[in-house]
Each structure stands twice: as C-alpha cells, then as structure tokens.
Amino acid sequence: MKKILKGARVIDPNRKVDEVRDILVVDGSIAAMEKKINISGAQVIDLTGLILTPGLIDMHVHFREPGYEYKEDIETGSRSAAAGGFTTVACMPNTKPPVDNAMMVEYVKSRALKSGLVRVLPIGCVSKGLEGKEIAEMGDMVEAGAVAFSDDGRPVADSSLMRKALMYASMFDRVIIDHCEDPGLFEGGQVNEGYISTLLGLQGIPASAEETMVARNILLARETGTRVHIAHVSTKGSVELIRRAKAEGVKVTCEATPHHLTLTEEAVVGYDTNAKMNPPLRTKEDVEALLEGLKDGTIDVIASDHAPHSIDEKDVEFDKASFGIVGLETSLGLILNHIVGEGKLNLGQAIEKMTIGPARALGIDAGSLTIGKPADITVIDPDLEWTVDKNKFFSKGRNTPFHGWKLKGKAVLTMVGGKIVYADENISDDNINRAEILKASYK
C-alpha cells in the first residue's frame, strides 16, 4: 500500500528540515521525501497548509494497567496518545503489580500490541516492588524490552540504591529517570510552599524538596560517569543545577511538563484538585526559569506526565485528592499556544522537545523522518481553533485544569508505521478512510 502525504510543511528538527515536501509511504515505511512526488496507484492525502513532523514522543505517561484500569488502560491511554499526536509513549511502571520484572514488561508490550495503536515502550522499576530497597532485575527487563528505569511516583530515596542503579543500568545503556523529591522535605505536602500554601492553609512542598534530590543525582551521575534523567523539573533552582551540571559535562537530561510551563501555584486557589500535582505548580519565577531552560537547551524534553485518575479520586477534599492530571490530549495545543504562540520557543524548537529530544533522552531510534524507517508521523493544523473539553477526551481521565481553554493548533492526523491511528474530524480529505481508522481505534 502506497500513500503520498502531499504539500505539508515538513519540520524535522533532527535533520534541520523546514520546507514543503511530499512524503511517500510504502508498506508502512518512509520511502521518499521530495519536493514533488507523483506516482500512480498511491493514496494521496492532501496536507496543504498543515505541518508534518516526526511522530511526537511522550516519554512520561501513566497508563495504569495492570491494577488501576478504572483510571486508564493501555488501550484508552493509547487512543488518548494518538489523539494528542503522539506515536510513541514510554509508560511508567508504578502499576499494581508494578513492572519490576521481565514478565510484566512482556505484559505491557503484549497489551499495547493488542490495542495496535501507538508504540508503548515499557519503563521498568528501579527497585523491586517500588520499595526502594533492592535494585530490580534490570538485565532481564532490558532483554524483554524495557526502555528505561524509574520508580516514578516516588523518588529513589536511598542514595546508595540510586548509585548502584545508575551503575547497573549503564551496563545495558539504559537511563534512570528519577522523580526528584526528598521525602523528609516533602512530608505530607500538598502545594508549593509559599504564599498560596499559607493562604489556603495547605502543607507546603518547598523547592528544596526537589532541588536536593536533583543535586544528589547530579553528584552521583558525575561520580559514576553514568546518565540520569530528571523527570518533571519544576523549580528555578533545579534548572540552574542542571544547567551547571551540563556545562561541566555531567550526563544529565531532563524534562518539563506543559502544565509546569503554563500554570502557576495560583491555579490551586479555590482548592481546585485538578491543579494538584506532584511536583506542585510553582511560582511565576519558576515558570520563567523553565522557559529559559527550554530555550537554552538545559531542558531537553517536554513530557506530559499523563496521570489519569477517576472522578472519585479528585472530587474530594484537597488533601485527600490524588496528585496529577491527564496531559496527552492537551500537551501539543498548550505548547503551540503558550510556548510557541507567545514566542518563548520557535516551532522547530518546540517540535524538537517533543520528538528527537525524548528519543535521545531514552536512547531510542525514533524522533526523525528517515528513509527506510517506519512512517511515524504527526500532522498538525497550526490554525485550528478548538476548546479543551474533558468530556471528549479519549482518555478515561477527566482530571485537567485546562477544561474550557481555547487553543489554536492541534494534531489532526497521527500515523504509526504508515497506519493512520487518528484523524481529527476537522481534517477534510476524502482519501482518509475514517471507517478504517475507527476500526483500528476500537478493535
């Protein structure tokens, strides 16, 4: 089966491409990228006026399966990813049971394969049972397909364990992703420590809770010569620590989330549990530091930390509510509007943080348009105006502080291995077989 994706502005930051090109897809792979491609017998999809990028990658999502399927399962998570323009996601292992052995890695892979939508890369636990005591069987998990290791949802609190994990994982060329939070400094925290925590009478989480762990991880990465990835950086101090470490040549990468880039702690006023996340939303100064970090390359990746919860876990008293929000379906729109639209990054830089950036951080061969490689492609309509409606999410989660936000720019077509896994209702090309997509999405 041949497809020609015609007339889009192709942006591939890895190849420094930004021009109108046609792309030929043959048997699921990219066969050619030329100014004009005209061959007979191919399905032609007209993408004039749209932007075509390598398939977006989100290296930090929670699909909750197994154990918490009522929040999300791998299939609904995949559908949500496809609708958000993501072709590859890396799935955190804090499920029940956690993904801490090869069998569990296989399970996640098999469930993802069955849903047949986006590429779901399992992340294995750093420690057995997420208990933070002994390192998990990383070698086995790597053989089974684990792409990285993390105890996300909680930090690797024991510095000795973290040191061993970094050294052990490096044998397999896999990165440790750490949720940086000093448990003692966190201590029942609910929101950023500052005026808002004082005003609302909520236990504050100081910036130092994150920064001490970021500093520790940098020291361990420097000492062991191995690579560490800092998940969801949220403070100015963390950005400064990472910037300095990178300048010294320490192997550290990091990510920021769309919500930490667009919201401040003010969002929790009124006890809105949809603004309760961990790390918490911080101050304007922190947000500005994150934007600066994105711009100067300190922050490598934009990741959603997609964390679906049921309504019963959010529609409760603030201190009883679960941390986290869904993000896959709002991520790109928020970045296009509030980061690119407001001139914080140019479009190419933003795409880089969502394609080759995460691919490099994970050490996977993806995030770029390459002849002969699978056609993982995202098509964006930069002018499409839409309103975030949590009731229309493909995710089971409705926990978003962005409900009702008006955004401009959206993924309208997502292709994984040449197969269209999502086509927005606003894309009006007769050559897109909606019945086929629907079948693929709901099989």
């Binding site: 420590e193 500052g194 005026y195 925590s197 004082t198 005003l199 609302l200 009478g201 909520l202 236990q203 504050g204 009124g270 006890y271 019963d312 529609d315 409760v316 008293e317 603030f318 201190d319 009883k320």
Partner: protein, 313 residues
C-alpha cells in the same frame, strides 16, 4: 434589623478573606444585639423557627460545637449534631455523599468542622444550604475571629488603630489566618511572632507584619493573642520541648507588661496552662478568655441569623 439590607455579601461564611468590612460590622452589630438574649431567663426567640441547621463535625470540638448548637437553639432553629465517629463516615462515606444526603433532607445551614483545609468550600459546591466554616484544617476559622473581634470591640469600643499581636504556632493556626484578615480589614495592624519553624512563608502578603521576636510583637500592643500549641508538633521536631517553648514563646506577666497597660489577653482555648500563657495572667485582669466564650454564642447566632434568617421579611 430585619430586611433585605441585612444580607451578607457572601452566600456562605467560608472565611474572612473574602468577607467585606461591612459584612464584619454587620455580624458584630447583630451579635451585640443578640448577646442580651443569652442573659435572659428564657433564652429563646422565635427568629429561626422552622429552620434546620446541621452541625457536621469531622473533628472533635466540644466548645465550638456546643456554641453553634446553643446559638441555633436560642434562635429556635432545629439543630442536629453529626459527628464522624459512629456515623456513616466511619463506614467510608465521602464528604460529597454526605453532602448529597443533607441536600435531600432540606437543611438550611450546615456548620462544618473538618481536618482538611478547603473542606467547607468543597461542601459549598455540593449543597444549596448555607455553609458555615467552623474550622477547616489550617485554613480559616471565621467565627472564632469574629468572636475575638466582638470581645475586643466591646472592651475597647472600636477595632481600628490597634496593634494586635498574634503569637505562637501561626503555621498551623486557622484562628490566626482569620484574625489577620479580620483585624486588618477593620483598620488594625497585626503582628505575628513565634518559632521560625511555625511561621508560614510569605504571611506578610496576607497583611500581617512579621515581628523579629515575641517582645517586638508585644511591645505596645493593644491586643495580645496567644495560640494553642498542638503537642504533637513537638514530636515532629518543630520545636524542641514544651519547656523551651514556654520559656522562649510563652507569655507571662513580665512579657505582657511590654504591651499597653490596658491591653487585652486572648486565647482561642483550650489553653495549655503554663505553656502558652502563665496561670497568673490567664486568670488576671487583662484576660478576656472567658468572655470570648460568651461572645462565641452571640457571633454564631448572628451568623446563622444573617445567613438563613436575615433575608426574610
């Protein structure tokens, strides 16, 4: 007093942050007029006859609950007490479900005490009844602040132009937060002091001034308010010992003498005698701690009246 102009600017009383100066004045004026009822032989007026009030107490609090209960009863409202122990809450019922149940019962006002900050606001989103915050976590305790203000106003005749010192565990005190909003709105200056580990960040943005130490806060004060120390805070290492606390942060005669000679001494109670306040001054002439309790009933009568009875002709 009756008539449309007695209605408060807010539908609920969730805190004093959003209350206007006029709201506060209205509550205090109403409370003052109700206070006389408490001294009557027959303490009952028909003002809220036919109205129902639920005291929803998720935290034990004998004095606040009793105060609200009496306030309702003195005004002839039907008051029901609901405490979390021995109720469906222990069976796992959520606050939201409890709210729905109350909603179906046609309750006019819900008085809620809860360990979670924001619980009163949460409840107000789920019921059409008027919600009165009787203390939510470490957020606000508006009726306590109002009764403090009523006590001070009665003694001093006004609430403006004073130096008010609030002392002790500010971090965990809902009373402190409500009093900062209340007294500053009425035109007084509020100083806070206490152990640095119990001082919330950026509290000055709420309108309070952070004193360097206890003596600076008390120096020349018109009102000195000590806060209750939760003894479990000591176990969390927020201060080393009760002994040291009472020495460094307790208020005794000598320290109180730094305040104006006619300064009033307040405490939301119950007092840890000898820790926050020495027995000598607690029972001394400047202490209005017992009078605060009486003001409490009057304030709660006023709040109930203004929220569920005040709009009626």
């Amino acid at each position: 007093m009756r008539g449309g102009n007695t209605v408060l600017s807010q539908k609920h009383l969730l805190g004093l942050e959003k209350a206007t100066k006029r709201d506060i004045e209205q509550i205090l004026d109403t409370a003052e007029s109700f206070k006389e009822i408490i001294d009557r032989d027959v303490k009952k007026v028909p003002t809220l006859r036919g109205k129902s009030v639920v005291n929803l107490f998720y935290e034990p609090s004998t004095r606040t609950r009793t105060s609200f209960e009496l306030a309702g009863k003195y005004l002839s409202a039907d008051t029901i007490n609901f405490s979390s122990s021995g109720s469906s809450v222990q069976k796992g019922e959520s606050l939201k479900d409890t709210a729905k149940t109350l909603e179906m019962m046609g309750i006019d006002a819900v008085v809620i005490r809860h360990s979670s900050s924001g619980a009163a606001e949460f409840l107000s989103r789920h019921v059409s009844a008027k919600v009165i915050n009787a203390g939510d976590g470490t957020h606000e305790h508006p009726t306590q602040a109002l009764l403090d203000m009523l006590t001070v106003r009665e003694k001093k005749g006004t609430l403006s132009g004073f130096k008010v010192a609030i002392l002790g565990d500010i971090l965990h005190s809902r009373v402190a937060r409500s009093n900062i909003f209340g007294f500053t709105k009425m035109g007084s200056e509020v100083y806070v002091a206490g152990p640095q580990t119990l001082m919330p960040r950026e509290i000055e943005k709420m309108g309070a001034k952070v004193a360097k130490n206890m003596d600076e806060a008390i120096d020349g004060a018109d009102v000195v308010m000590a806060l209750r120390i939760q003894l479990e805070r000591q176990k969390k290492g927020l201060f080393p010992s009760q002994r040291e606390y009472s020495r460094l942060f307790g208020i005794d005669k000598k320290r109180l003498s730094l305040a104006k000679p006619d300064a009033l001494l307040l405490h939301p109670g119950p007092v840890n005698r000898g820790v926050e306040i020495s027995s000598e001054i607690m029972d001394g002439s400047q202490s209005v701690i017992n009078e605060q309790v009486k003001s409490g009933v009057a304030i709660r009568m006023a709040v109930l009246y203004l929220l569920i009875g005040g709009a009626r002709q």
